[in-house]
Symmetry: none
Subunit: 409 residues, 2 copies
Amino acid sequence: MELEKLLGELARPAATKMVLVVLDGIGGLPVPECGGKTELEAAHTPNLDALAQRSELGLAHPVLPGITPGSSAGHLALFGYDPLKYIIGRGVLEALGIGFPLEPQDVAVRANFATVRHTPEGIVVTDRRAGRPATEHTAKICALLQENIPEIEGVPVFIRPVKEHRFVVVFRSPELGEQVADTDPQAVGAPPLPPRALTPEAAKTAAVAAKFLERLAALLKDEPATNYALLRGFSRRPQLTLFPERFKVRAGAIAVYPMYRGLASLTGMELLPVAGETIAAEMASLKENWDGYDFFFLHVKGTDSRGEDGNWEGKVKVIEEFDRLLPEILALGPDALVITGDHSTPAVYRGHSWHPVPFLVHSRWVRPRRETQGFSEAACAAGTLGHFPLLYTMNLLLAHAGRLTKFSA
Amino acid sequence: MELEKLLGELARPAATKMVLVVLDGIGGLPVPECGGKTELEAAHTPNLDALAQRSELGLAHPVLPGITPGSSAGHLALFGYDPLKYIIGRGVLEALGIGFPLEPQDVAVRANFATVRHTPEGIVVTDRRAGRPATEHTAKICALLQENIPEIEGVPVFIRPVKEHRFVVVFRSPELGEQVADTDPQAVGAPPLPPRALTPEAAKTAAVAAKFLERLAALLKDEPATNYALLRGFSRRPQLTLFPERFKVRAGAIAVYPMYRGLASLTGMELLPVAGETIAAEMASLKENWDGYDFFFLHVKGTDSRGEDGNWEGKVKVIEEFDRLLPEILALGPDALVITGDHSTPAVYRGHSWHPVPFLVHSRWVRPRRETQGFSEAACAAGTLGHFPLLYTMNLLLAHAGRLTKFSA
């Protein structure tokens, strides 16, 4: 029996509360110039350290050892969806990232403005990013396109700016397959590729996309740089059994960044309002909504952003900020609490990495390690949970919250 | 290649002896009122502790992290059968629990005596457990039923009491499918559900079961409480390659409780006689049978029973009792010895739990941990075996006993 089916059969409602705190990109690496410490080791975290003493620690692999996950893969695992089974396409991810309300039938495409030159043999790409236009310029062009291309052959079209040369196109129709090849030739001097259907069901999508490019080229023919577009990552929302149904919980998501709100909403969690962008504002939302939900996903973005920037000290500060607020979660008395990440983002690495993520689970049913320890990569490596797939996060949360019945007789 | 096929191909006979000791429900949780210790930590176990120094320790997951296994799932894993692949139905388990010799063709059903009331619209259930009759009463009624219903439409029927309102019905015929829906409406005031075939192959089973209920109702119509029965868990023995054949061993099982004897016998192990119900009696059986077998499954029930009762001290005492007798096993000089459980049953949790089970393997080929350690959950969490699926128990036993050839060239 598959894990997904198994959990669905064993999950039962209960009067218990669960909190899943995701410190995005929490895992780090030791930095010689910073006393040889990781961000978690250097941070002054009396509350996390005290909690670690009364918790089980371990290291969790978002996908597999050595595999660096994108944000969507890490979060899918955290929510109990196998990231090797459910793939979120780049078009969908880009749409989620700007908070676009994707419907199940939508085909989303990640688009780049590009510059093309006309030659006797046809057009060729001269700049795959159109000289990286300002975001404002992209927004203006997208508005122009949206006004002139509201639909193609009866298919509603949505055009939204993202950042610099990037924008999103969404085609909405139940008749569209999503298997269409990228049009980016990946080389300057080459002609853009036509949108080619990879399955019979995607024929109409390819035709609509080709017409979209035709009309876009006509509308932008006098633009000096942003006179064409390359389309990538045609995709639809993955079809998955929704989180509240699978786990028999009322699930609320507390996140500030659109992509994470989008990921939570893909799985059917309710998005809870947050008044501001701080961790304190997220905590306030948790308190306000405490009675209305059984499960809370609380996402902290700063740890990942500082890590991506290579800002070791900044990441330490975000960890300390969370630590100061941790007592507010504990005061609510969750029956089961997990604090972990969706992947590691070591500041010294300046990006997502493959290193397993520190993981803490707290409930009244834990086997803590006796020896003094804080919450760090090293303490987690020596923790009583050992190494395990991050996909088992929901198993552990549900078990510790008394929400899984016994398997088999 | 699947593990099961792999082991089958690699296993070879050898002149070595293996012992698998299952301390049922051995894993525990720390209890503040008991010095913050688990049962294993508190128990005075000089022999286990000394053995742990010369062994590899680890923590094993019977099914998956967070999943609490029933006894059958844990034992299937121990015997090398994937518990997510081989499911033992409730009817079969109930039959095993009373030592009924199930044949491969038998469909076993877990039955409850119930009370029904006659209304103009038909019968409705007024007590799903018939007021919990005394076991003696159930035995008397079962004898009456057996006498009057020896067969139905040529299908032999076996009716056996279990405890209080519970009994077992077995239909024996090669023509019977087992996919029949439960008849328990799970609510008082509702009519019992008819035995409904869920597959075409089960049509005859459903018809025979319906006739069984009809005749039962007629025979018991004057009983004040036990005047009807609800049927659940129609099931057949799982079809599996037998243990002695898979592993090329002569396998003997030493267990006192019928369910564990039944599980062992399902896999084709021989049941060895035990003169009494004590661990000492089991040890005597081990010694007596030492020359006749290559593999011994030795099951200790007390650890689980005390755990289920919430009797922390009682569980400690059973562990100490086993420890005193452990030298008798060592004196026999097994080539490979595993001491573990089928699941954890922390006394403070009063039931099976999802926590991984302490695991010890001893042979001349071990990598022990250098630091002084006893045999406890914490020592196993820090052990050289790490965390692993309990399903690999037979891999380890066979390997340490020199009974697995090299895989691939």
